[in-house]
Symmetry: C2
Subunit: 152 residues, 2 copies
DNA sequence: TCAACATAGATGACGCGTCAACTATTCCGG
DNA sequence: CCGGAATAGTTGACGCGTCATCTATGTTGA
């Protein structure tokens, strides 16, 4: 009784899987080559650079990124080892900690961002019509809505 | 001189990143819970189950999957340890090897496939109109074409 | 024939992501 | 005020993916 995918759905699904894998790999490599960052590093640095003082609580950061706290913890360890961020004690709540951008972290993200955006544009948006951009938004919104239903 | 993303592009891009991360995680978890497989396992088993005799040369498999051979090699090691596949010597070319589905591998993929497809349908295709499915195909084709230009 | 090169594939190190378990602190009801 | 639950965050193990390197075999051309 399985409802298999029809031909159009097959093409869409295989196309999606293929694009997803290649695009992610491409963006990762571009960031790595140009700035020594991974996509994960980039995501963390972007969030940090957008908060006042480049400094937040770890859990607040995890929520913004929608990452599990353990994932973030591992990531922050690696980034701290490379001098991109710093940890600071939290006096109010001594269980917690602040994460802060280091000057090097800020320099790095400011240098990396323009080239990363340019790459996203080159591979994705430069190839899409405004209608397709709207369709992409629609698709992702619908799927996100379905995914959100699980989180109850 | 950076051409930043405009609002519509921002929404599309953030939506894509969000959907991509969540959908992949969801599908991985479903497969893992229902069948003890990862998406990577599943991809390998699907290809193997589609070739005659459930048996191919490693490099041919890598090409079908569009995976690097080292990635595949690691993957096959893990799968062999779990009894899903088997390695066989290649008499013609003694550098090479065949990979073969084990009976257990075949049973596993045949049990896993229907539920996996059902999940893909539930999260993706059940939420999309035929127009959006067509748009998704269009988008992925365009991006794939750009990505393919690099491989010269 | 034999040295150079190409090909098939394996391996080790390291970053990434998940899960389960753990520590340390804070909160809250009796 | 105290004991149990909740919260903040860490840790270790393990699968996944990439890169660089290595081994063994096959191919080719002087």
């Amino acid at each position: 009784m399985t409802r298999w995918l029809d031909d159009d759905e097959q093409r869409a699904w295989r196309g999606y899987l293929h694009m997803q894998a290649r695009l992610t790999a491409r963006l990762n490599r571009q960031l790595q080559d140009d700035s020594g960052l991974s996509l994960a590093d980039f995501a963390v640095l972007v969030e940090l650079s957008e908060v006042a003082g480049g400094r937040t609580r770890v859990l607040a950061l995890a929520e913004k990124l929608e990452w599990e706290k353990s994932r973030l913890s591992h990531q922050l360890n690696r980034m701290r080892a490379r001098g991109l961020i710093d940890r600071q004690e939290c006096p109010n709540d001594r269980r917690g900690a602040f994460v802060a951008l280091t000057p090097q972290g800020r320099t790095t993200i400011e240098a990396a961002a323009p080239r990363h955006v340019e790459t996203v544009r080159e591979y994705l948006f430069d190839r899409l019509t405004p209608e397709l951009v709207a369709a992409l938004t629609d698709i992702t919104d619908r799927v996100a809505a379905r995914l959100a239903e699980d989180e109850d």
